[in-house]
Structures are given as C-alpha cells and as structure tokens.
C-alpha cells in the first residue's frame, strides 16, 4: 500500500471510454479529469446517457471487455487500465468498493445476506472461521441493521434495508474509496435521509473517499464537498457544492438545480422548470457545444465551437462560452 501523500486516492486523467456495439463506436466518456483525495467527497451529477455511471464503473473495470479506455484511471497512483487480472481482483472491494444502484438487483436473491456480506471478507482473507461471523455482525451493526436479520434473504428486507446491506458489503474489506452509484434513487425521502446520513457518518469516521453519483444535484450537495456535473461524456462544471448548486455558471447546471425546486421559493411555485428536448444520444452528438440545442443562452459560436472548461474561480470551472476567458483551464 503506497502511503503517498501526493497521489490522490483516485484520479482520472484525460479518461475516455468508448463502447463498441453493433452500431459502431459510442463515446460515453470523452475526456474527463477529476481526482479524489483521502477523506474527500465528490458528487458526480448527470442524466441517463451522460456517462457518469460508465465513468464510475471504469474504476474497477466493471465494463464490457470490448470497451476501449483511453487516458489513465489511477487508483492510489496505479493505473487500473494496466492492471493484471489478479491485481484487479485484489484491488476490488479491498481498495475501492462500489455501492450499486438498485439494491434488489445487486444482491443475490437466493443467498442469505450474511453469506453475501461474508463473501468478500473470506475472499480477501480479512478474517477466517468465527472471525467472519463477528465481522459480519460488526458491519450490520455499523449500517444500522439489527444483527438478528443476518440470516434474512434479500426479499425479506425493505428497499432501505437492502441498500444498507449493499453498504455493509462495500465496507467489508475496509476500502479507502467508496463509489456509490445512485445509492438512494429508489428510496423514500425518509429512508434516503437515513442512508445519506449513514454514508456521511462513515466518511467522517473512517476518512474514506466517497464518489457519489446521482441525477439529483441537491442530494449530492448535501453529502459532498465538491460537485462535478457531467453532460454528454464531459465534465461541464466542477467546484465547491454550494457554489455549483446556487451559483452554477453552466446553463445545464442551473437547469439541473432548478429541476428539484426549493420548497418555499416563490420563483418555482406553479412554475416547474425544465429543459426543452432530451439528453443527446452519445453516438450522435451535435456539433459545437453538445448542449447548445437545448440551451436558452446559446449564441452563434456555440453551434460550431466546443468550449472547454474555463476558470470561474481558482477551484470552480465551467465549460460555457459565457464564462469570461481568463485562461483556458489545462484539461
């Protein structure tokens, strides 16, 4: 384990990810630079097809084998794309773990949850014999599930409880990085609050890095220090959460933050805000800025020039022609 103080836990460097399908190449991620340090929390927002889940799955190489990855994906300074199979297996769960969306599908319906949580513990040799049981009970306790439920099958649990099981599995091998892909999407507000509180507490107590993915900007802003907004395979805005949510400089960021209104805000009362059109098909992106066909602030230039990230402030960038060019951020 390299305890390098310089290398972040996770770093994407000019990462590109292209799916090879029957209908040709689909560029899902088109050049992303992001990093997460120890104990840092980063929220990645975007809609279906924006490439956010693809990016997250690439960290543990959970993508179809014919997928092409360009650039680098560094986990503790080590390039994931160059890892041998055995090394990759050692890294999965132990260094970085994923909490998948849709806990019903992430769990095996015919195995008891205790056995499923025990699996990574046994595989990675974290504990043996009765130690495994002890560790499983410890984890259940940490995620707030009664230990008497250890022998339950997934269908006997509620959606929120299943999501807690997924989190317990992700924590089983004490990873330093947790990737949570829409961890609360199918859950009720109250259960969502419980799960988010749990994730926040774990980050604070254990200093793990958290990459959380959601389409709901306000949920991310509540849990993460920094936010990155993805559209058509690129980061279009990146900065401190509060600044991005309240003072978004990219029109798409503003549309996303307006989509889930603040109750009590007169501007959104009887005035739902949305965007015309639909998220673009990654295999047929418009020329210029990929957002321009849906953008109310588009100017002529937008249909021809693809704008890169520009600095709004030292720790806040946005890829929009309306951000004055101080200097083009090195991407």
């Amino acid at each position: 384990m390299t305890e390098d103080t310089v290398a972040p836990l996770l770093e994407f460097r000019d990462t590109t990810i292209t799916y090879r399908g029957a209908h040709g190449a689909v560029p899902a991620v088109r050049g992303v630079n992001l990093s997460i340090g120890v104990g840092e929390t980063l929220g990645l927002a975007g809609e279906s097809g924006s490439g956010k889940s693809t990016l997250a799955m690439s960290v543990l190489r959970l993508l179809p084998s014919e997928t092409e990855i360009g650039g680098q994906i560094l986990l503790d300074g080590e390039d994931v794309t160059a890892m041998k199979w055995g090394r990759l297996r050692a890294v999965r769960w132990a260094d970085a773990a994923v909490v998948f969306q849709g806990a019903m599908h992430g769990l095996n319906p015919v195995r008891r949850i205790s056995d499923q949580i025990a699996e990574p513990i046994v595989l990675h040799g974290i504990a043996t014999g009765t130690g495994v049981d002890k560790r499983v009970r410890e984890l259940l306790d940490q995620v707030g599930l009664p230990t008497r439920r250890a022998n339950a099958y997934p269908h006997e649990l509620s959606g929120g409880q299943r999501q807690r099981v997924m989190i317990a599995m992700a924590l089983a091998c004490d990873p330093r990085l947790v990737i949570a892909d829409e961890p609360t999407t199918a859950l009720d507000v109250m259960i969502q609050a419980q799960v988010l509180d749990l994730l926040s507490a774990l980050v604070a107590e254990r200093g793990v890095g958290l990459l959380m993915i959601s389409h709901d900007l306000s949920v991310l802003a509540d849990t993460c220090e920094r936010l990155a907004v993805m559209y058509a395979g690129r980061i279009v805005e990146h900065g401190p959460s509060a600044e991005v949510v309240r003072g978004g400089r990219h029109p798409y960021t503003r549309a996303l933050s307006g989509a889930f209104p603040t109750i009590g805000d007169p501007a959104s009362r009887l005035a739902p805000s949305g965007l015309p059109g639909d998220p673009p098909d990654p295999s047929r992106l418009p020329a210029g800025c990929p957002f321009h066909p849906r953008c109310a602030d588009a100017v002529d230039e937008c249909s021809t020039v693809d704008i890169g990230l520009r600095a709004v402030s030292p720790d806040h960038d946005a890829a929009c022609v309306h951000v004055p060019v101080a200097e083009e951020v090195h991407s």
Partner: protein, 324 residues
C-alpha cells in the same frame, strides 16, 4: 359544492395477506378533487396512496365507503366503468411499461378512441392529442415505435392517449419519477398547461414534495392508509403542522433542521392502536405531546373531511382548541 368532480367518502380498501391477516391499505379516506384543480397525494411507499388512486379509478372496489364522480357513486359493471374511465384517465409512472413496444405512437393513442367508440376523424383526433401533449409536429411522431422515443417523449405519448378521450380528470401516479431531471419540469409544465387550457383536473400521486410545490393547488399527506394533513399546497408545504409532514419536509436537502424518523414505515397489516403515527412520532418521543400522550396511544384521530384544511393530530388540535 357542485364543482366537485371526484370524491372519496370514507373509503377503505384492504387485501387478504398470507396467514389470514388483512392489509388495510386505505383505512378511511375522504378526499375530493374539484374541476380545474391539481391535488397532490403524497406519502411514502406503502402508505396506500397508489391503492387509493386505483380505488378512485374504479380498479379496486372499496370494502367500505364509496367513490363518486359528479355526485354519482361509481358504477360497478364493466360497461358503466368503461364510460367512467373515459372521464377519468390514468397515467402511470413507467411509460415504457405502459406502451406496447410493437405499437406505433399512432396506434397507442388511437387504441383508446377505438375502445370507447369515439366518433370523429381518428387521424385528426390522434394528431390533436399528440400536439396537445407537446409532440409536434404530430405527423412525425405517429409512425414511430416506443423504442425510438426518449423517456420524456414516451410519457407524452401516454398522456396523449389519455387526452384523446377528452377526460375531465387525470390520475397520474408518479408521472415523472422515472424521467430524467431536465425532462421532469417539461412534463409537469404540461400538466399545468392542460389545467389552464382545458380545465383538466389532476390528482398526482407522488412521494416528491418538490413536485407538489411545483404544480399542486392542494395537497393531502397520507400515512399508513389515512390522510393526516391536507390543505392548500403553499400552506402545508411552508407551514406544516402534523409531526409527520414536518419530518417529511425536514429531510429534504437544504432544510435547516432535520428530523429523521427512525425505522421503516410500519406494516399496514398491523396498524398501531390510537394514532397510527404515534410509535414514530417525534413530538410524542420528545415529551412535547405529554398533555395528550394518553389519547395519542389509545384514540384514533378523527379522519379529515374531504374538503378540509386540517390535521389529524391530537397535539395540534389540542393546541388549536386552547388557542381558539
């Protein structure tokens, strides 16, 4: 009030569960929907809101109580219900599941017209419904299959299918929950526009309080089969009075003070005695409700009236009595 279109009067709906238990999904609900009004029925999964919506559509027959449309109790026969469903149309959460993948957009919208033997020029009626639902030019969309549409467009097709029958009421069950964030606002704006242009009333069933803030005139908050708070949406959402409504609003992002209820919503097969919310009630747990605690544990609060602005809570009502 004679502009009441749809009304639930003391509706109870239950289901048999294994072990001879009875799940009381809806346990005494009064609710009304007036012409040109959007009412949001909100609550967590399992609170009975979808069951209530289906009872309002005549898809479940109440065990007790009744549903009426324009003052007449819902018919029970197949033919009578068919006529009723032309007036009150259902829009579901998942448009992909609601559409036949091998039927074109035209077929999807025309199907209802044929079932209900609507007279008139079918292509014209279909085109009008599609453009009302925001699919313009309608001719371009007619030959497409659901697979060739985006999620938002599919939901518009479902709404167009409902609109073709010129209903008086839409019952929409989580109409935007499966859609992308940026598309959501457009679909909600469509519901508002249909109300403004056609006077179409909607009952929107949702767990999303932001949606209620966006479009609802009135709101009814449901917990474990009962409506626990109802009133004008701005009032209920900005000054909630029932401890449950308060908790629901407090856990939204950006809320200053969070009241996270522990545990899961309880089982509708085992509704607690007294106030159904009392085992999870933060007011009771904190001692704020000590003066009425005995009643909370033993007396079921009176169900709210259909047109009420009010709260089914012993504490709130006791405080109001003292003040009033």
């Amino acid at each position: 009030m004679n502009d009441v279109l749809l009304k639930a009067d003391n509706v109870h709906v239950g289901f048999a569960a294994p072990g001879g238990r009875r799940i009381r999904a809806v346990a005494g609900v009064n609710l009304e929907l007036r012409a040109g009004e959007i009412v949001a029925l909100v609550g967590e999964s399992g609170c009975g809101k979808s069951t209530l919506a289906r009872a309002l559509l005549g898809l479940y027959r109440p065990d007790q109580g009744s549903v009426s449309f324009e003052g007449t109790t819902l018919p029970t026969g197949v033919r009578g219900l068919r006529g009723y469903r032309r007036q009150v149309q259902l829009v579901l959460q998942d448009p992909t599941g609601a559409l036949n993948p091998r039927h074109s957009v035209y077929e999807a919208v025309a199907e209802g017209l044929r079932i209900h033997h609507i007279p008139g020029n079918e292509p014209e009626l279909v085109a009008e419904a599609l453009s009302r639902a925001g699919l313009r030019p309608a001719e371009r969309f007619m030959p497409l299959l659901p697979g060739e549409l985006s999620g938002g467009q599919r939901q518009r097709v479902v709404i167009a299918g409902a609109l073709a029958l010129q209903p008086r009421v839409l019952v929409a069950d989580e109409p935007v929950a499966s859609l992308d964030a940026s598309v959501r606002g457009e679909i909600l704006a469509l519901l508002l526009r249909l109300r403004d242009d056609l006077g179409l009333a909607s009952l929107v069933v949702t767990h999303d309080l932001g949606l209620a803030w966006n479009i609802a005139d009135r709101i009814a908050v449901m917990y474990l089969g009962r409506i626990v708070e109802s009133g004008p949406a701005p009032e209920v959402l900005t000054a909630p009075r029932h401890p449950y409504t308060k908790a629901l609003l407090s856990v939204l992002p950006e809320s200053p003070e969070r009241i996270v209820l522990s545990g899961e919503p309880p089982d509708p097969a085992r509704i607690p005695a007294g106030c159904r919310f009392h085992p999870r009630c933060p007011a009771l747990a904190s001692g704020a409700a000590d003066a009425v605690a005995q009643r909370c544990r033993t007396v079921d609060p009176t169900p709210l009236a259909a047109d009420a602005t009010g709260v089914a809570c012993h504490l709130v009502n006791a405080v109001a009595e003292v003040a009033g």
